[in-house]
Symmetry: D2
Subunit: 429 residues, 4 copies
């Protein structure tokens, strides 16, 4: 038996529409510095062109909401059904992922028209029609989905630009001037007592299905670092021969080192003995006090081994982050709205949100009792719960109203094109 979905008040509905407009605008503003040619780039199968992100997020609203809700809805272009489907096999065979960069047509203008077309229909839907709670939830999912693609849009274009020997800047380098701070914040070890903790969320507020069911988890005493590992600390690992010492690496990690001949993180470059990092403002001198980023899991794990510590589990991370959360945590955190476009050195506050996604030692697995929903949207998270690792905390390009302490991001251990770093943890002695 399915209960009738609760109605949504006019006020809530109106706030949803405002939020819809704000998030949709934000996506376009993130694409603003890019030319039609930039927006065409796909530098690896894991990444997508900007243009594709703009269209696919729109396709999500059209496919899962407009086509379901509006009688006799006429799609903008039937061909889009295939080419902007990401991975929903239940909707038909999606267009070949590695070839997304081959779609010069539809052109950028058509994609913007598509966005406007869908936005008008969505505005009518949210403005004129009474929606129920299920639809409210689905729109909210679509907006969170779009926010995920905002972050991907930035990390994907960063990767694409990193291939260009001219190291193009997404944003003007002059905005980026930054004093190298005197040194990193000292690292404190925070001790957390073991016990049974509640993990995950389940409630009225939006969260992804993979964040629940909320459940109890038994933890041992542990300690966790007060801040992220810095570039300077990671540089020591490099200079100590970290990439040459198999004993520091997981077996698959060492295979990765040997195959790729990696000697440093993906975006580091050495020019005449000085380290640089490729950033959204182009190639910039490495800053020792900043959190290290664009590590893959193998690198994060090897670094932790080198210092004789370990990564936290995702459960330890969540417990510590909730306990240590400052009242203004979200406002203070270095998230997308700060427009810093890169992680920043810790300054006093406890750095638990923003800057870089933190690799945990946890495999991405369903929480006890998890069930993917049976409809197409059910392909959203569950089918990826294999071979990936959980990251927590959001990054400098994650929107502030998108991140939560319970948020579970996930990537394969070899992937490093996200803003991903690490925080150390350890067992209490």
């Amino acid at each position: 038996m399915t209960l009738p979905a609760p109605e949504v008040s006019r006020e809530v509905q109106s706030r949803l529409l405002s939020r819809y407009r704000r998030i949709r605008n934000e996506t376009e503003s993130l694409a603003d510095p890019l030319s039609a040619e930039d927006m065409q780039l796909q530098s690896m199968p894991d990444a997508s062109p900007t243009k594709w992100h703009l269209a696919h997020t729109t396709w999500f609203f059209e496919t899962f909401i407009l086509r379901q809700e509006i009688p006799n809805y006429r799609v903008f272009d039937p061909a889009y059904h295939e080419i902007f489907n990401s991975y929903y096999n239940s909707l038909g065979q999606p267009f070949s992922r590695p070839h997304r960069g081959m779609l010069s047509r539809p052109c950028r203008e058509e994609i913007y028209e598509y966005r406007q077309f869908v936005d008008r229909a969505m505005s009518r839907l949210l403005g004129d029609i009474e929606i129920d709670g299920a639809l409210h939830k689905l729109v909210t999912l679509g907006l969170n989905h779009e926010q995920q693609h905002q972050e991907l849009l930035l990390t994907d274009i960063k990767h694409a630009f990193s291939i260009n020997p001219g190291y193009p800047a997404y944003l003007d380098a002059s905005e980026e001037e930054e004093e190298s701070p005197s040194g990193p914040e000292p690292l404190d070890w925070i001790e957390i007592a073991g016990g049974t903790y509640s993990i995950g969320v389940e409630g009225e507020d939006f969260c992804f299905d993979n964040e629940g069911p909320a459940h109890r988890n038994l933890l041992r005493d542990f300690r966790i670092a007060s801040r992220l590992v810095t570039n300077g600390e990671y540089r020591e690992f490099i200079e100590d021969g970290g990439y040459q010492e198999p004993r520091l690496w997981l077996s698959d990690g060492w295979a990765w080192v040997r195959e790729t001949q990696a000697q440093h993180p993906a975006y580091w470059r050495n020019r005449e003995g000085r380290w640089y990092q490729f950033t959204l403002a182009g190639l910039q001198p490495e800053q020792d006090a900043e959190p290290v980023c664009h590590l893959n899991f193998y690198e994060a794990d090897a670094f932790a081994s080198w210092v004789g510590q370990r990564l936290p589990t995702e459960f330890e991370w969540e417990v510590a982050a909730c306990q240590l959360r400052a009242p203004d945590q979200l406002a203070a955190a270095n998230l997308l709205e700060k427009r810093n476009w890169r992680p920043q050195a810790a300054r006093g506050q406890r750095q638990f949100l923003g800057d870089v996604w933190e690799w945990t030692s946890s495999a991405y697995l369903p929480y006890p009792g998890f069930r993917a929903s049976a409809d197409a949207v059910g392909e959203y998270n569950g089918k990826f719960m294999c071979n990936q690792k959980v990251l927590r905390g959001g990054s400098c390009v994650t929107p502030a109203d998108h991140i939560r302490m319970s948020y579970r991001n996930f990537f394969y251990p070899h992937q490093s094109w996200q803003f991903s770093g690490l925080r150390l943890a350890g067992d209490n002695p």
Copy 2:
């Protein structure tokens, strides 16, 4: 501060020597049906030639025990140090794994001489010299290591023979005659109450480092099947189009189906509409009541989705297996000593050990507080704790004194050349 290792009584030491002789003999008896040519085969990088197993297990005793314990020990052949090192990077670069089948020299006779040489030295060591507890533990590790290779020897030669269009039999097919039973045992659902359970072991008896530390784990109510999934049940999955329906598969699993064009388990063959299975006795008609085997994790998971259930976690498995264990479980189980060489239909007893390794939904990760030991033997387990899945329960080719309820085997999700199957689990309604 390191305490002096405890002494080992003569009797214990004498039992160890007996065990050493028995296990070393068993390995050779398993190789007996094979010709020098068979023992040369390496059919994929994951597998090794029989000859290599015979030598590598011997190398383990020579490298970690004889070279350490016996003053001025002269190794049998210095070249063996490299070519029979499996993956101990701390001992130097091991010989290229995919090329183990290229080592026609040393020949089989030399390998047997090597075994005798090391066995004589080990017999002297265990027979004449007083050993301490640390050494006792190391010898026991070496023997358990050899038992692991006994199983691999069989699964590797099975894979190698499966490439040969003549489907050679490891053992005489006539020994294999078996009545097809009237039907599979009915499947019961056993309900287990949630709560805090102790997982893993830590004690006097030998276990691998990955089985500890013993720790407490919080489980919810769940239910688990009384027996393994059968060939007949899996055949229905095939016939229902299981390999054609993306919604049943994990994302990486569906990619595997598409890439390999798999339509059935690795060793199944269809001849004019009738299913056969390649076994250690050659190609044999499929038996509906037997547990399905040689599934990879993706297949096991997709099958569970198809029936609307799931795989157990390794913790659920361990708790259920310990609760439901029969007094004569180990004696009754279909393990190597039974010389059945294949899984058998459940008959009354609860099938929790032997027959096939059971894929669990758990990623292979360290237990809380786990630390790999710092010496070379420390590479044994820890460095593989990434990207693999845990299997439990042992198989029809696992030695009986090698398996335990706490035993954690691990393979990559795409691998299927072990005797691997599944048991269903579910959440209590």
Copy 3:
């Protein structure tokens, strides 16, 4: 001793400048129908983005002429030296070929500025300064080089568009309307007497170094078809199971069929039993009377085997084409200037130039006495004289003043993205 290079008359110099302007304009006019996004596409390592063609041809003039001839010449952008170098290793490591499509910057406008910058300098050089014969030759080489890239620009964008499920049209389909002719021209066998013939050219007029030295070649009696093989004839080959019969194929050709699972030429599509071909005007119904095109060498050779004939050698082709050449051959031929953009059915005239490049049985090898010149331009042809096959005759997208009877084009046997087809030949009975 090097003789002073002969002077070039004002008139000749003036004609060279006109030609320079005409050819440079033609390249841009070919790019006109394309958007900045289209011009960014690189659909495989063998192909290059339109934008790259526009820049690389310009780079050729800047690198080999302006930088050598103009004292204190300031290059447009020093970074271009690497990124628009195709394969001249003697000028430094060229930018990674498969990543040319990753260069969103420099953008299209910058590339056009680059063209204007170089065109102005070239105009001054050719307009104001007395040039010698060597420079005249080098400019002419640059122009022929640009014409090669005009053809590549079209075949590369055709390939890129073929990946797009919407099959975009380079040109308006309505221009393309074409009546299906009543049937193909009947095929005549033309008999050519054996003897010693002169092959290749050497003289005042421009030709590529690989067309010489002119030399004598001994041919046997042979016969050659009066026209190209048609779509209709090739369709019969398909329908007769040509792609399923290993005996028709070269060993490497059959390996190609098995690996790619090819069942028809690259740009053929079957929609509900009807054949279509992807053309520069989008997906169009296959026309039986038109020459078959976009075959690779293996397909051309297998077709010839199927009809019991063979391909001509490049020497037979050249002798036949010269003997049978009509006075107005070049004017009548279906070349780029006709703006047909596709091969056309033979109509009366002997089809020896234009329509499709004709695969010959000859390997691409140096003519006797060939020596590549020692300077960087010497990398132009010689180093490719291995593993490729010669094609003759030009195609529907080859400029008329670029093609010659002695012209030797060359591609690898598996390549089919050029307008490539075949003409049958045979031994005289």
Copy 4:
């Protein structure tokens, strides 16, 4: 109309039987030093196990002769039809070439029984029954086929042993003792006048189909070296940075260098600054005066470029070799019967047969008028006439009654596991 095949005299038939026995015995004597394990080795897809060579040559006689000629012939084992078919697609899908090393069964003893079984049947056929000319020819083809596999047997086992870090010796190193000669024979340039020459053979004596039809070929004046290029000369090329200079290499050759990171020929090893070569007698010090061997075509071509010369065409080679042939050429040459197992320094005689196969600049193409025969044996040569290069002259492991001046061997340009070297040629100044 087919003429009745001519009868064969008793004496000719008796000589054929003797030859059959001698060649079949020789194959087995070449396999004698090898163990069953050695005979199992397949170190790359291009190579085959010894055991497979022994069986496949036997399969050739059974398939093309016994099954055709003897009424109601019962094959030794029906399964062999597939597993010992090399590449005759017209006889059904051959067993996967890269998996030949997986066939531990049939075992060596069965293969020898197979040989005896077929030898007995062949002896009866050739001893008791009157055979005609066509059959005589086919048997002779089978014997030449077996001689080809004698050479391959040796080069394949050499490659397999080269993978083993112990560098096993096929033959006792003590037999191999050899004084390093005082220095290489001086190189003379021999001038050959241009003109029309007859190339290829056609006559009563056996030759492969690819050596005909005999035809006339027009050559220009050229010169050719009196001896092969030596190790010492090639060492200078290495030491001069030959493997670092792209201008010396063909485009595909340079791609090969970059991909494989080659720095020296395949079997060269540098140990503390001294060069060694892997030989059939194990790792031996490099001898400067010996012909360089195990070069691939790219290396041979690059070396020739480095000295400012070129490789001969296969036509130039044949003309020069015939003109300069000494009366006792074949008897003096370093061929298999000499049991030297390696090339030898030139000593007075003109080295045109034996030692190493000589890469020519010619592509492997059909001679004018060549037609493969229509039956299965017709797959013998013709279908390989693409992408390969011709080598001439035989090697130190080619049987003396197998090689001819007109003999055309062929390999892909990247292949180097044959005894392959080069002789320089040039245009007359």
